[in-house]
């Protein structure tokens, strides 16, 4: 049946193809206002007050409605948004932000430093159930000396702090003195950003429209619609039928399913490295993994490129450490582990593991060289990576079992109590290189992120210095060393960095791929007048 359908389609689209010209290449298309940009969200946004929301659907919408004092520009450098400029005192303790004048909230009220001060106080208010208080708790003093100046002083120099002022600023005049969790703004947000909220039909769609009074100029697009479509196959069908203008593709969709003339006529595809990597992490409290040679042998036995080719269809890069390869902090000179089963076998022999009984699995005394990789259900990429690793490790005489467990159970019963041998997981970071919470030896407590119990005094020291140092060149030296130690010690075997694979309808112009991705200049995206699809 499938084959018949495919044939039918070829015929249908084959005829159309000859008549249509290829849009998207004409240089004389001028920017024009209007049209609607439709994208899909897998989940319903939970809350449109950024202080309360931690899901990606909410963050994406909030990112268009609200703004922070600063943000990362297309080259991942901090630039001012609500702050026009800022100064850092020589002792690195005091930041002074000079705020933009004439900015208005969507309800017409002026934006001032009182809003910033209020936002700060709200984040540290114990009655406000937010996940983002930590960065602001380092602040010793916050003040607003005049309506367009905001000043914070820290107890000690804290480099990640600057980034934290990219946090969305909330309107004081609508929230002060109220129970934030009951605020109507959580369903109908009012910010200062380039798009303002229009309506939200629960379970169906959420509509934003361009803010005509936006300080950096009105966005070209008249409207942005988020359709809530919980199934990714449905999203893909909607994209093909024109019901969506944008979608992040999976590797298989990118590589094969969209490789048709019809799709190429309607969409532009982009690819760039995402901020996230997958790893095989070892529980360092297990005696087996305390032997460095075992970890290095596994690293040599795994063929990372094979995993990328098999799981990501080649749409990714091998990871050598916690940073993605195109950032300033990435250290390209660390020790790498080429796929080398011979070397892996030698290391295992050196560590005393031999296959004396000839059953294909090495042993030392009565103990077999065997362990279990546990990972969470619902992530196909991880399950497949585990299978590929299992096969390669078998070749060098290590018996690997795979266990796949539902997310909550996975964390509660396996990861946090330390009840696992090895796990395949991933971390998503950002441009800020601070990795204190994941690698510092003080973060091995219950439910903390260093659940593999990695302890290295030099790494601790580097991480502490890294977050106190503001100078980028200095920081680079610190984090280069940090990456070199991780690469040598292999507490994780870093597997791969995946790529973001967005497809955008071809009528949208002005898209500039950059290290930060493609959405950094979303307000400058436009559709030439002749190609606009939605008149109202």
């Amino acid at each position: 049946m499938r084959r018949c359908l495919a044939l039918l389609v070829l015929l249908l689209f084959g005829c159309q193809g000859q008549e249509q010209s290829v849009p998207g290449s004409d240089a004389d298309a001028r920017p024009a206002y209007g049209d609607t940009f439709i994208e899909a969200s897998i989940g319903e946004p939970s809350n449109l007050l950024p202080v309360l929301a931690s899901d990606s659907a909410s963050s994406e919408i909030n990112g268009l409605v609200y703004e922070g004092l600063l943000r990362y520009d297309k080259n991942l450098r901090l630039e001012g948004v609500l702050a026009e400029s800022w100064e850092i005192s020589p002792d690195n303790l005091t930041f002074t932000f000079h705020l933009r004048q004439g900015v208005k909230w969507h309800d017409g009220q002026p934006f001032t430093s009182a809003d910033v001060l209020f936002t700060y106080r709200m984040y540290i208010d114990p009655k406000v159930p937010t996940s983002y208080a930590e960065d602001f708790k380092q602040v010793a003093k916050a003040e607003a000396p005049d309506p367009y100046t905001f000043r914070v002083t820290y107890r000690e120099p804290y480099a990640p702090a600057l980034e934290s002022w990219g946090t969305a600023i909330h309107p004081r005049h609508l929230l002060e003195g109220q129970d934030v969790t009951k605020s109507p703004l959580s369903r109908a947000p009012i910010g200062t950003g380039p798009f303002r909220f229009v309506e939200w039909k629960p379970g169906e769609k959420l509509v934003l429209e361009g803010n005509a009074e936006y300080f950096a100029g009105r966005p070209y697009l008249r409207r942005v619609v988020y359709r809530i479509i919980p199934d990714s196959s449905t999203q893909f069908l909607e994209l093909q039928s024109g019901g969506l203008d944008f979608m992040g593709l999976t590797p298989i969709q990118y590589a094969t399913q969209t490789d048709t003339p019809a799709f190429r006529r309607g969409f532009n595809k982009f690819r760039y490295l995402g901020f996230g990597y997958s790893y095989l992490g070892y529980n360092l409290r297990k005696p087996l993994f305390q032997d460095l040679r075992i970890r290095q042998a596994i690293a040599h036995a795994i063929n990372k490129q094979e995993i990328i080719d098999g799981v990501l269809l080649g749409l990714g890069k091998t990871a050598t450490g916690p940073y993605k390869p195109d950032t300033w902090v990435y250290n390209p000179q660390v020790k790498t582990y080429a796929y080398d089963p011979v070397r892996a076998r030698t290391l295992l022999e050196e560590a005393g593991w031999r296959d004396a009984d000839g059953d294909g699995v090495r042993e030392k005394g009565a103990q077999k060289l065997a362990f279990t990789i546990v990972t969470n259900q619902g992530n196909d990429l991880r399950a497949k990576s585990a299978e590929i690793i299992q096969r390669r490790l078998k070749e060098v005489g290590i018996d690997v079992q795979i266990r796949i467990v539902e997310w909550a159970t996975f964390l509660k019963e396996f990861i946090f109590p330390g009840n696992f041998d090895a796990t395949i997981l991933g971390w998503t970071g950002g441009p800020e290189p601070d990795q204190y919470n994941i690698w510092h030896s003080s973060k091995t407590g219950p439910r903390e992120l260093n659940f593999i119990h990695y302890k290295n005094a030099e790494v601790d020291d580097l991480l502490e210095r890294g977050r106190r140092t503001f100078d980028q060149a200095e920081r680079k030296k610190i984090y280069d060393r940090f990456q070199a130690i991780l690469a040598e010690e292999q507490p994780y075997t870093f597997l791969y960095v995946g790529e973001a694979l967005p497809a955008v309808a071809r009528r949208f112009r002005g898209i500039e791929p950059a290290p930060a991705g493609i959405t950094h200049n979303f307000i400058r995206w436009y559709v030439p007048e002749s190609e606009q699809k939605y008149a109202r």
Partner: protein
């Protein structure tokens, strides 16, 4: 009759409490808590903030206390506030999803009855005929076919390839600007595939059921009598046989009352329909206890009422039962 009714209603209260107690305990047995989604593996969340969240939700109390509190609120019909990050009242969230779920389920039950009853009757009357054999094969194919797969195939065919029907959702973008007639067609065309899919498996099961009922009735003596009287075959089948074969349908309809509000996660997810099934599923995934309990209570009440209605309806329709 009234005494019977009162008794039945009174019996429902302990039953309902039992159901809620078991559900409450079972839900809390599952590992994971509502706060996890916000705090686990989140580098920005501290232990202190986790404790604060737990306190806010009352999760720091013993289970018995939590259940007692919940029950006390329920007694005044307060389902509480969702643990999800929107902090909305559970009742609001349920009420918002009910109309579309009930509409699709009613349409689908109507479609099932309209198709399955004639199909079952015909198959029974012409037992072992080619028609019977073909429907049997089709019905079992329909039974065995995974509905999500069929849904995707149909969406791909009618939506992407032919472009005749919309793929997902309930309304098109720009629905507000359409004329009234177009709006009606817009909604209808969005409903065709979901209703078809949700009725599809039901038709298969129900027509089988109808067929075996009918076969049993046709063998009865009074059918023989009717035929012996010389009644035309159509009248024998429709007036004498079908009416008796339809009796058990009352029970089925009674049992489907709770089903009216319980959607299906699978087709709601695929068709992007904001229904109860998805709400419940999401609630379970994020351990939103008040929401889960709210839906379970409403479901339990409706099941009990549906059973009661079925029993009463049966008594009304069948004099033999009324007398005994």
């Amino acid at each position: 009759m009234l005494v019977y009714l009162a008794k039945r209603l009174a019996m429902m209260i302990p039953l309902l409490i039992g159901i809620t107690l078991i559900s409450f305990v079972v839900i809390h047995l599952a590992p994971g808590e509502p706060t996890d989604l916000q705090t686990d593996l989140n580098p920005k969340a501290s232990a202190e903030m986790r404790e604060r969240l737990r306190e806010r939700y009352g999760l720091d109390q013993p289970l018995a206390v939590q259940y007692g509190r919940w029950l006390a609120h329920l007694a005044v019909l307060d389902f509480g506030e969702s643990f999800a990050q929107d902090h909305r009242p559970v009742l609001d969230k349920i009420v918002e999803r009910l109309p579309v779920t009930i509409m699709i389920n009613l349409l689908s039950i109507a479609a099932i009855l309209a198709v399955a009853v004639p199909l079952g009757v015909m198959a029974a009357v012409r037992r072992n005929s080619p028609f019977d054999k073909v429907t049997t094969v089709l019905v079992f194919t329909g039974f065995a076919m995974p509905s999500f797969w069929l849904a995707l195939l149909l969406m791909d065919f009618f939506g992407v390839r032919l472009g005749l029907l919309p793929i997902a959702g309930l309304r098109s973008i720009g629905y507000e600007y359409l004329s009234f007639g177009r709006q009606v067609w817009d909604v209808v065309s969005h409903l065709i595939l979901p209703v078809f899919i949700s009725a599809f498996g039901g038709v298969a099961g129900f027509s089988r059921y109808m067929r075996s009922n009918m076969l049993e009735v046709i063998r009865q003596d009074y059918i023989l009598t009717a035929r012996a009287k010389g009644l035309p075959e159509a009248q024998v089948i429709v007036r004498h046989a079908l009416r008796n074969a339809l009796l058990p349908v009352i029970t089925i309809l009674g049992l489907s009352v709770p089903g009216l509000i319980g959607g299906s996660v699978i087709f709601e997810t695929i068709f992007a329909i904001p229904g109860m099934g998805k709400l419940f599923y999401d609630g379970v995934m994020m351990r939103d206890y008040p929401l889960i309990m709210g839906i379970l209570v409403i479901g339990a009440v409706l099941t009990l009422i549906g059973n009661l209605l079925a029993d009463l309806g049966y008594a009304l329709a069948d004099p033999r039962i009324r007398r005994s």
